[in-house]
Structures are given as structure tokens and as C-alpha cells.
């Protein structure tokens, strides 16, 4: 036990119940100034609840919180913010219709005679964006127009603008590109030196290894261990988190696909706007083709283009050798094409949150289970039961709103919903973002089983480990073009990083142009 310095912030005996579920049970935590404190745990371990309590979003059922050894209670995020606690949430808290500068100073804009001084605000926004390592973002741009990774940096700048004493980062780097992550880390290290207390929640072990001074592991709503960073191996930590024997996360690597097998999906010369440039590739039955590269290089757009969501796409798409035109998701999922897209943002594009698990599961497949426009409830029930057991979806009832499920289970519902249309081609857009280790492992296994049953898979992931371990081939995108194709044992960390940074891209472009 270490209790040398007086902690800046302490919480003792915190409990919180949602309905019948204990989200937190007698949890405690002490945060010191000048330290980065990592919080680890699977989704559903209570981390989010803990943070929401600290940030004043929800109130604990019992327990005490002390700031500077004085007991505090926060009835709202505004109160916590005034006490010096700023939070960068996983679900971004930016206002889409306001400008970057307006957003950064939303809580306390610079004022003159009681009115907002937009010029001063503009100046201060420049400064704070630079401090957050995001000087390239224009303070007058509308947040609506920024890509996700930029928004996340704005979110960090916004937290910094409040000059907090305690800064909480909840999966704050999940949408950032590698270069941005490095910048943000430098910022965080500087803040630590300045004497801030930082609470850092992440699923990425390397990040925690690089940043954290102290780690606390949560499991099932309790803090199970607190230790100095670097004193436990990754394996030990993961074991603490999941509380079970830690097996290798990934299934064995896939066997090479026989070259003579014909492709299910063939793409030739696909271009869209200035975001996708002349992309050609093919996917054979049973093959998992990964999309790599830095975030925001056109991977998401490529998947949307294949799924018929984008307008003005040029190039050719062949399914089983037949040329097809996909005018939208409705076309894409029809049996003659048989495509499914697991979207990036399950909360907006994947699920109808207030509706039941049952309704969500059957949405995509309604045509298949209806006769003359009427839903065949018996068929629906049968198919849903099958999916729930196939994916091991944990919910107390099928009539429960899907919003009540944990993040991992929600993602399973999204996947199950698309498996119900028995697709032959599955497009996945970073499906494991913000999901706990256990669910990830199940998803990797599922991917492998689907591939083995002959489904062609296109898999975009921001996690290089996933690309290395799940894919037969990986296409690395840079600025809307495929700059490199890696295959089999050639898919390595080094190769992925080097090609993602476009090292040797010129050579690739030259060879591409000559052929």
C-alpha cells in the first residue's frame, strides 16, 4: 500500500445500481496530482459508470467523493467542471452546428460587457488548439464538416480550455491516427509535468504502457488491483481484467486460399470525388481482405461505395463475374448481391436504440421473413433464437431495448442482424472499436467461421494486430489509393506501419501506373 502524497481526489465505497444490475460495488479510487492514472477493465466492468459519477453526469447511490480532502457532490457536469474536472468522453460531446471555437469555449466563452467576444475567442481557440497538438484545425470550421479523428482532437482542446485540475480521457484516442496519438501523448505528458491529475481509460495496452504511472483494474464493478505501471506483464493484466485463464486472443491464422478459386467480389477502377482513386481488388470466397493504413485515408468511403451509399461512384463492380450496379443498401442486401455492411458507429447507423433486441435483429431481414408483406412471426422467432445462440448475445429478454445492452452485446446485435440475411460478402468497418476483450475474441472466432463457410470478407480495422491475425491479405490505403498489398506472412507490424506512412509510396505508384 502506498499513501505517501495526499491524493488530489478520492472516492470511497462508491456503489451504483441500474435496475437489477450492480454497475459499481463499493469501488474506491485515489488520484494524485502529477500522475497519469490508467483505468483498465472490460466493457461493463464499471469504468464508464465510475467516470460518469466523477464528471457529475450521474449520481452514485452511496459512497463519498473528496477533492482536496473536502467532501464534494456534483449534481451536474457543469458543477464538476467548475470544481476543475474536465472529461473527454468516448461519445463526443461536440455541437455539430457550431464552429470549432464556439465548441471549445462552449462552457465559458471570453466575454466583454457580458457578450461573447468572438475575436478574443478566435485567438484563444488558436492557442488551445495548438496546445492540444491540433494547430491544423481551423477554429471557424463547423464541427459538422470535420472527420471523426479531428473532432476528437477538438474535444481534447475543449477539455484543456477549461484549465482543469483533473482531466479524464475515456477512450480518447480510439479514433485518432497514429501521428495524432503521438502528438496527444506529448500533450498529456506535458500536462502531467504541469501537475494535473490524469485519468486515462483505454483498451490499448501499448498506450497504457507508454503513458501510465499507476494502473487500477476494474472487474464486475469493483476495483480489483492497483499497481505501479510496468510491474505486471500484459498477460497478468489481462487475466486480472477478464478474471479467467487468458488464452491467445486470435484464432490460428487462416490457410492460404487456393489461387484458382474464383473471386466473389471484383472491383475495378473505383473512384469517388477526390476521396477514392482508381481502386481495384478482388475477394474470393472464404477470403478475409483487410483494409489498412492510417485512419481517414478512404477506407470508410470504400466500404460505403461498395454498399451503394455514395453517389457519383465510377468504376466497375462484379459479383460472381457479373457486372452489377448497387444503388443503395436495399440493393446491396438483395440475394443476387448478398452484401452486408457492419457500420462504424453502431449507435447511429447500426441500431435503433430505443427499440427491442428482437426488432433490431430482424430489421434487415424483414423481407425474407414476410409473406405478402406480412411478417411471419414464427419464422422471425426461429431466426432470432438461432442468431442469439450463434453469437451468444446476452440480454435479459428479447423485448429489452437494445440500448440497455453493453457495448459488446450491442455490436453482436448489429452483426447478427446482418447475418440474418445470409450475406455472401460482409464488409466490416472497424467493428471492434471500444469493445471489451472477451467480445473481441468471440468476434474474431466468428469471422473465421464465416470465412470458412465461404463468405468473402472485407475488414477495415484501425488495430494492426487484428489485420495481422485475421486477414489473408491487406490492402493499405493512403489518400484514397491502394498503395500496397500485403499477403500472408508478409502482413507484419513493420510492413503495415511503413506502408501506412506511405514510405515507398512513390515506387508503388510508379509500378501501378506502368502496369
Amino acid at each position: 500500500m502506498e499513501a505517501l502524497a495526499t491524493p488530489l481526489f478520492r472516492m470511497v465505497g462508491i456503489s451504483k445500481r441500474y435496475g437489477g444490475v450492480n454497475a459499481l460495488t463499493d469501488a474506491s479510487l485515489a488520484v494524485e496530482a502529477g500522475h497519469i492514472h490508467a483505468i483498465l477493465g472490460e466493457n461493463g466492468a464499471g469504468k464508464s459508470t465510475l467516470i460518469k459519477i466523477i464528471a457529475g453526469v450521474i449520481a452514485a447511490d452511496s459512497g463519498r467523493m473528496m477533492l482536496d480532502e473536502r467532501e464534494v457532490t456534483f449534481a451536474s457536469p457543469a458543477q464538476a467542471s467548475r470544481a476543475g474536472i474536465a472529461c473527454v468522453f468516448q461519445e463526443l460531446s461536440l455541437i455539430p452546428d457550431l464552429t470549432v471555437a464556439d465548441n471549445i469555449f462552449i462552457g465559458d466563452p471570453p466575454r466583454r460587457f457580458g457578450l461573447i467576444n468572438r475575436r478574443a475567442q478566435r485567438r484563444m481557440a488558436d492557442a488551445v488548439l495548438a496546445r492540444a497538438g491540433a494547430a491544423d484545425i481551423h477554429p471557424m470550421a463547423q464541427v459538422r464538416d470535420l472527420p471523426l479523428s479531428r473532432r476528437q482532437l477538438v474535444e481534447i482542446a475543449k477539455a484543456l480550455a477549461r484549465n482543469p485540475r483533473i482531466l479524464i480521457l475515456d477512450e480518447a484516442t480510439s479514433a485518432l491516427t497514429q501521428g495524432d496519438v503521438t502528438k496527444v501523448f506529448d500533450v498529456l505528458k506535458r500536462l502531467r509535468k504541469e501537475g494535473l491529475a490524469l485519468l486515462y481509460i483505454s483498451h490499448r495496452m501499448q498506450e497504457i504502457a507508454e503513458l501510465a504511472d499507476i494502473c487500477t483494474v476494474f472487474r464486475n464493478g469493483r476495483n480489483v488491483a492497483t499497481y505501479e505501471a510496468g510491474t505486471k506483464s500484459d498477460n497478468e493484466v489481462v487475466e486480472l481484467m477478464i478474471g479467467r485463464e487468458y488464452r491467445h486472443v486470435f484464432p490460428p491464422k487462416p490457410a492460404p486460399i487456393p489461387a484458382e478459386r474464383v473471386p466473389v467480389l471484383e472491383v475495378t477502377g473505383l473512384s469517388w470525388s477526390d476521396r477514392l482513386r482508381d481502386i481495384s481488388f478482388s475477394v474470393r470466397a472464404g477470403e478475409v481482405v483487410g483494409l489498412g493504413g492510417l485512419d481517414g485515408q478512404g477506407q470508410r468511403e470504400l466500404l460505403l461505395a461498395l454498399f451503394g451509399v455514395l453517389r457519383g461512384v465510377t468504376g466497375e463492380l462484379r459479383i460472381d463475374g457479373n457486372k452489377v450496379a448497387v444503388a443503395g443498401p436495399g440493393d446491396a442486401k438483395a440475394p443476387q448481391i448478398g452484401m452486408a455492411l457492419i457500420p462504424e458507429d453502431r449507435k447511429t447507423e447500426g441500431l435503433m436504440l430505443p427499440m427491442s433486441v428482437r426488432d433490431n435483429l430482424s430489421f434487415a431481414a424483414l423481407q425474407r421473413i414476410s409473406r405478402a408483406g406480412m411478417i411471419d412471426f414464427a419464422a422471425e422467432r426461429r431466426l432470432i433464437a438461432e442468431m442469439i445462440s450463434l453469437l451468444a448475445i446476452r440480454s435479459s429478454s428479447n423485448d429489452e431495448p437494445v440500448s440497455a445492452l453493453s457495448g459488446g452485446n450491442q455490436q453482436k446485435v448489429v452483426i447478427a442482424k446482418w447475418l440474418m440475411v445470409t450475406p455472401r460478402i460482409i464488409l466490416l468497418n472497424d467493428p471492434t472499436r471500444g469493445i471489451d476483450v472477451g467480445t473481441k475474441q468471440e468476434l474474431y472466432g466468428l469471422l473465421r467461421r464465416l470465412a470458412e463457410s465461404g463468405v468473402a470478407i472485407v475488414f477495415y480495422s484501425t488495430d494492426y494486430d487484428e489485420l495481422i491475425n485475421c486477414c489473408n491479405r491487406v490492402l493499405v490505403l493512403f489518400d484514397g489509393s491502394v498503395i500496397r498489398e500485403l499477403e500472408g506472412d508478409g502482413i507484419t507490424d513493420r510492413a503495415l506501419v511503413a506502408s501506412a506512412l506511405s514510405i515507398g509510396a512513390n515506387d508503388a505508384a510508379k509500378t501501378g501506373g506502368a502496369s
Binding site: V57, S76, F89, D97, G107, Q142, L310
Partner: protein
């Protein structure tokens, strides 16, 4: 430096409404027998400001992603009240003006309290309160009548220094005293934030309730100013349900024409004012082209539909179909 580009993008709706008005008004005055004279402008201004006030009021509520269907009735109620109170000696008149504006503000506050603290839907709430306000107006003026301080009325509907329409100056004063401070205050920004994304606003520690309450309250006040001016134009009060409903619906039309998004978070009262002027100018155009006034609703409907279609042109440029829903 491309700051101005971002500014134009932010103010696009307002600028389009302004441009549309300039074009229509130019057509109007060039075809008017008297041409571009102070009298013509004053008459146009007097016709336009009433809807402009109610449209400003509607803007405040609409940016918070709400809607206020009682504004036309507040307009009528304050008109009836003014026909009793805004008369007599200068002191009595002054008291009357304050009382009428306070009544408008109070109506807005009631709407705000019910919508925010009662957590009721704005549409249903304001239909109900609108009916109540109209009921009170009927009790005040079962039959049209009353009077108003004529000196004040003539001063505010005539010309100031024989140079500018007084009603236009009054509108400008209201913009400077109410809209600009609101737009540039923390509360105003909170109102936009609430309309754009209420959850994100809450998570940012923005005073959501205060913002919405202030928006509904000021909307009541602005509708009250409109009602006061109606009294100055008509010298009397009338509890006319048709008038109230017309102004409610036209204020929504003006707001849309002015580039204010009914989804909330986007737009400006300046745009709504020009939207109101555009809507009014349609009638004037029919007049100079010798068309029957009977055609007016038809043309107004067509212009509104056209304006909405123009707004939808943006959708043609959309290259990612997901943006239709965002």
C-alpha cells in the same frame, strides 16, 4: 486567411434570404407607379414589420429545436390588451406599453415553464396555451374596438425626421436590443447548442434549461412587441382567431425562408426578418402587376415551396447518402 469563407458558410441562409428580398423588392419598386420613394418604402415597411417581429420570435424558439404555435395568439392578445391600456396621458401610455410587453413576456414564460419543467412537447403545449391566450383576448375584446394613443401610434408608423420609416427604425432597435445581445450571450449560444445536439450540450455543462426558457420568454416578448405595433397600425384591438393563426403559420414560413433550420441549431433572426419581408413582398408584387389579391395565398404557397426546394438543392450535391439523415 479564409476566415470570410467560414463566415459566409455560417450565414448562408441569411444571405440568401437577403438576396431574395433585394431582388423581389427591386422588381416591386421599379414597377410601382410612384417608384422608389419614401412613401412606398414606409408602407412596405409597415406591412412587413408585424410579421418580422413574430418571425423573430419564432426564430428564438426554433433554434432550440422547438416550435411555438401560440405566438400568433400572443400577438392577438397583446393587441387587445394594448387597445385598453396604451392610451391617455403620456404617463398612462408609457405604463400601458410596459404592461403590454410584460404580458407578452409572461405568456412566453408560461410556455417555457410548461415545455421545460413539465417536459411536454412544444407543439401540443403551445396549441393549448395559444387557445388560452386567445380566450383571454376574447374576454378583453368580445367585439373589435378600443383606442390607442394616436400621437405615439402616428410617430411609430410614420417617418422619422422625414427620412426613414419609423417602423423600420423600431425593428432595428429591437434587433440591436434583443437579438444581438441574445445571439452573443452565453445563453444564446446555449440555445443554439441545445437545438443542434441537446445531449452534447448537456455533456458540455451548458445551461440547457435556462437557454430554452429564455428563448421561449423572449419569443413571447417579441410577439408582444408585434401586437403593440398591430395596435398602432389599426388604432384598435380585435380578438381575431384567423389573424392569430395566420401569423403563427406565416412566422414558420418566414423562418424557413430566412434559412432557419426547423431541426434547430442553425439560422438567424436577421434571416427570418428578411424571410418575413419576402413573404410580404409577394402580395405587393401581385398589386403592381394588377393581379387579384385572391391570388395571394396561391403565390405565397408557391414561393414558400420554391424556397424549400432551393434549400433542398444542397441535397443534390450530397455524395454520401448518409448525409441525407445527418
Amino acid at each position: 486567411m479564409k476566415d470570410w469563407r467560414f463566415l459566409i458558410r455560417e450565414q448562408r441562409g441569411t444571405l440568401i434570404a437577403m438576396a431574395l428580398f433585394v431582388v423581389m423588392f427591386t422588381i416591386y419598386v421599379t414597377n410601382h407607379p410612384a417608384g422608389f420613394t419614401l412613401n412606398v418604402v414606409t408602407t412596405a415597411s409597415n406591412k412587413g414589420v408585424l410579421l418580422a417581429f413574430v418571425a423573430m420570435a419564432q426564430t428564438l424558439v426554433v433554434v432550440t429545436a422547438g416550435i411555438d404555435l401560440s405566438l400568433g395568439m400572443i400577438f392577438v392578445l397583446t393587441n387587445c390588451l394594448a387597445s385598453w391600456l396604451v392610451a391617455g396621458s403620456p404617463l398612462e401610455t408609457a405604463f400601458g406599453v410596459v404592461a403590454v410587453l410584460a404580458a407578452g413576456l409572461a405568456c412566453g414564460m408560461v410556455n417555457g415553464l410548461i415545455v421545460i419543467y413539465g417536459r411536454l412537447q412544444p407543439i401540443v403545449t403551445t396549441i393549448a396555451t395559444g387557445a388560452i391566450y386567445f380566450g383571454i383576448a376574447l374576454l378583453l375584446r368580445p367585439v373589435p374596438g378600443g383606442e390607442v394613443n394616436q400621437d405615439l401610434a402616428d410617430a411609430l408608423t410614420g417617418k422619422l425626421f422625414d427620412r426613414v420609416p419609423a417602423s423600420l427604425v423600431a425593428l432595428l432597435a429591437v434587433v440591436l436590443l434583443i437579438w444581438i445581445p441574445f445571439r452573443r450571450s452565453l445563453t444564446g449560444r446555449a440555445a443554439y447548442a441545445t437545438g443542434s445536439s441537446e445531449a452534447a450540450a448537456y455533456m458540455s455543462g451548458v445551461p440547457i434549461r435556462r437557454a430554452r426558457f429564455v428563448a421561449y420568454s423572449l419569443a413571447g416578448l417579441l410577439a408582444g412587441i408585434g401586437g403593440l405595433f398591430l395596435t398602432f397600425f389599426t388604432y384598435s384591438g380585435e380578438a381575431s382567431a384567423a389573424n392569430g393563426n395566420t401569423y403563427t403559420l406565416y412566422s414558420i414560413a418566414a423562418v424557413v425562408l430566412g434559412g432557419v433550420s426547423l431541426f434547430g441549431g442553425v439560422g438567424s433572426a436577421i434571416g427570418a426578418i428578411f424571410g418575413a419581408f419576402v413573404f410580404r413582398t409577394i402580395g405587393d408584387l401581385l398589386f403592381v402587376f394588377d393581379l387579384e389579391p385572391l391570388w395571394q395565398p396561391l403565390f405565397q404557397g408557391m414561393v414558400l415551396l420554391l424556397a424549400v426546394c432551393l434549400g433542398a438543392f444542397r441535397l443534390l450535391q450530397i455524395r454520401n447518402r448518409l448525409d441525407y439523415f445527418g
